[in-house]
Amino acid sequence: MSRIGVFTCHCGENINGTVDCAKVAESARTVPGVVHSVDYKYMCSDPGQSMIKAAIKEHDLTGVVVAACSPRMHEPTFRNAVAEAGLNPYLCEMANLREHCSWVHEKGDAATQKAADLVRVIVEKVKRDAPLQPIKVPVTKRALVLGGGIAGIQAALDIANSGHQVVLVEKSPSIGGHMSQLSETFPTLDCSQCILTPRMVEAARHPNITLFTYSELESLAGFIGNFKATIRRKSRSLDEKLCTGCGLCTTKCPNKKIKDEFNEGLSTRGAIYVPFPQAVPNKPVIDKLNCTYYKTGKCKVCEKVCPTGAIRFDQEDELVTLDVGAIVLATGFKLMKTDQFPEYGYGKYKDVVDGMQFERLASASGPTAGAMKRPSDGKPPETVVFVACSGSRDRSKGVPYCSKVCCMYTAKHAMLYKHKMHGGKAYVFYMDIRSSGKDYDEFVRRAIEEDDVSYIRGRVSRIYEEDGQLVVMGADTLQNGRPVEIRADLVVLATAVQAQDGSEALAQKLHVSYDPYKFFAEAHPKLKPVETNTAGIFLAGACQAPRDIPETVAQASGSAAKVAALFSRDELTREPIVAVVNRLPPPTFSYCVGCFLCQSACPYQAIEQEQIKARDGSVLRTLAKVNPGLCQGCGTCVATCRTKAIDIQGFSNEQIFAEIMTL
């Protein structure tokens, strides 16, 4: 026989201002099974909790209903209190009188009546609650970091330095990411590669880090603490153990006309190549799509010249399966290309470049060795126009958001240009200057005041070519929209930062949610910025939203701290709100008929087949079995089951029907 206690909370005026809590408590006393019912101003306060604990002992309660706010707010509070009084915490439930009643209704008898109904409903549920135990799952203390840019490198190093194993996976032939392409960095103008390459080397040499470059995640199964990741290690057509990285093959490759990705198409490379001199690992890779041998079956020059015989044309991709306990997503971003701008020439003008191309033009390791030369004819550009917000904050380009880094890097670009071409003229068209960061606004002011960069507030409506120059037509909105026309030698579009190609497919592979622009979504915009909605998967860097380097590094370290905290425990506990297939003795008894409709319906692959065997080993029945580690308690299988053999613990069919029937 149930002995339920009901504790109605006023929540100050929040509930009692609309609902007559004394009446609710009084009406609860009339519900069969309720042996104790009181109301109090703040049930979550210490005296409130003590009241519950005392009542459990005094009235020998078998269940507790707290009629107060949302269980999201205080369920843990009350369950802990109940547990301290010696009752199983899952025998305590909340009726939500605040969000579900007082906050959304006018004061009056109807609101009080509804509150009383809500209490009655939960009493019926608690009467049928079974004591539950939290689920314990083991933790594999090895992390998988996807993406080898600065975000992934930082996260990997931090996790590795806290004593855990890390597998760092990068899809391109070298780690380093976009940061390795940058010339200098704001707001200090220190050389990007000089500060990055030590980290790259450290990551490669760290005893706790296993580096998988030229590799991608093939598939992922499992759950927090117990993921199983399959990595495709794409064939480099090379025996990496034999290769010494001498680079002879790359100089002898007869195919030299392939656009160099690292230099953003501003130079060419061979079909066998090392992306850049400081690449980690410094081993070449054959670009099979462009290799003469792979296309025609003839050539093999690289094989002939290799002093160690390391070339392997018949090498195949390798699939590696790893057990990992946590995943950090650090797959970065892509930049919108200039061919997305019909008004700026649809990418057909060679001297209209994007921000990353300008980084390469300004970089000492770039195609011009850092000399200011424009792509079309190598002439030093005497006038350069920078266009901020190219594509960003532009609904017609599908990018309503601010790309965040462009204001700063445009100021940096203009500065770098002026430092290299003292007599040159630099113009920046901008909408607003967003330079909120440490030393950021000072940096922009420096560009304007010390380096004499002309900032024009307005948009550029059109760019066209005339007599070997680019005519930039815009407006100066600080001068009543006065039309501005500048004849420039080079135009740099600060194009929008967008989600990496394939991020949608990756998110679906990982069961991670993403926003309308395909950036991965954090679990809470303020309080869970590095977590995803999938437990055990964390975010770092620009795969979540446009970010600069300082923020990316901070977030990567944040993710690493979350992973380290996760790995500090040997076991994880989870709420036992999972599905169970009913099983009673004898061993063969269950309503389950083994149709496995539930197996195909389960979005989490949590349903397994269990064979019930006789002593001689013969299979008597095959039943569904829920893996409590995988089950997320969504209830899809419950709805699918034709024989009602599955229930969610704490939300059984019987409980739900009882709740409805009491209304």
Binding site: P342, E343, Y346, S396, R462, Y464, E465, E466, V471
Partner: protein, 288 residues
């Protein structure tokens, strides 16, 4: 095929040759134009800056008249008419309350059933006929000039590319012309400032003519009466401030295609231009 026809005021006055050439070309490709009965002014450049309701009511009445005449689609050759008719139609379709109010004002039902097309959109459907009937290929380098209104705003028009349109180039290529790459396909010509600020229009239209000429255009092809009158009628003012004055003629696309189809230049109204255009055809035939 039959289609409703809304000439608008320009085609009765300053751009008679647009009307003449639309009608001549339609006959040649087997298209019957049914003029919208008792049509009124579309409101053009004035109504929408003066009175929002008026700017909806005028086009709504035209479309209602067309619907009453059993038409399902109306051709509006003038770019300003096209813009007003499509804009009003879109707005009324999205706002039932406004539609009801306008219906009460014009005392005709507002249903949104009648669609509006411009010349390019319509001719796009006759690509096979144009190709098959081209007798005197228009072997000229042409600068296809769309102007600011024809393919815009993209939310309303949803046809061709608003910044870098191609439909006119495609049609001219079918008739044997060589459309050039140039810079000012959608640049503003100055439009109605032609009257109040002729100097501004001369400058704005001047750069369009100059760029077309610099890129080797032998003709500028347009589909908007305003563009035509600014580039053609204002040529003396344009040339007065150009370093290299230009006599490149400006043709309506219906005239250019008409010539290619072998129609009589006078029936196409080519003699009405300020910048001589009549001479175009014999040369084209001669080159063939």
């Amino acid at each position: 095929m039959k289609i409703g026809y809304y000439p608008g005021c320009s085609l009765l006055g300053s751009s008679r040759e647009f009307d003449e050439s639309v009608r001549a070309l339609s006959r040649a490709i087997g298209l019957e134009l049914v003029e919208v009965p008792d049509w009124n002014c579309c409101g053009a450049s004035s109504a929408h800056v003066l009175d929002h309701k008026l700017s909806l009511a005028l086009p709504a009445r035209i479309l209602a008249q067309a619907e009453a005449a059993g038409l399902t689609e109306v051709l509006a050759p003038c770019a300003a008419c096209y813009n007003r008719l499509t804009s009003a139609r879109t707005e009324l379709a999205q706002d039932p309350a406004a539609a009801a109010e306008i219906a009460a004002i014009i005392e005709l039902p507002v249903t949104g059933r009648v669609k509006v097309v411009n010349v390019l959109e319509l001719l796009d459907r006759f690509q096979d006929e144009i190709k098959a009937r081209t007798k005197a290929p228009f072997r000229r380098k042409v600068a296809c000039y769309y102007g600011c209104l024809l393919v815009r705003p993209p939310k309303v028009v949803a046809y061709d590319r608003p910044e870098d349109p191609h439909s006119m180039d495609r049609l001219m290529a079918l008739a044997g012309a060589e459309p050039i790459e140039w810079n000012f396909k959608t640049e503003c010509c100055g439009a109605a400032f032609s009257v109040t600020r002729t100097d501004l229009v001369a400058r704005m239209s001047g750069r369009i003519v100059a760029d077309a000429a610099r890129h080797g255009a032998e003709a500028i092809v347009v589909a908007c009466p305003m563009c035509h009158s600014n580039l053609d009628l204002r040529r003396p003012e344009i040339n007065a401030q150009l370093d290299a004055p230009s006599q490149v003629p400006v043709l309506f696309i219906t005239q250019a295609l008409g010539l290619a189809l072998g129609l009589d230049p006078v029936a196409l109204g080519l003699q009405r231009h300020m910048v001589p255009a009549l001479a175009l055809q014999p040369a084209a035939v001669g080159k063939d």
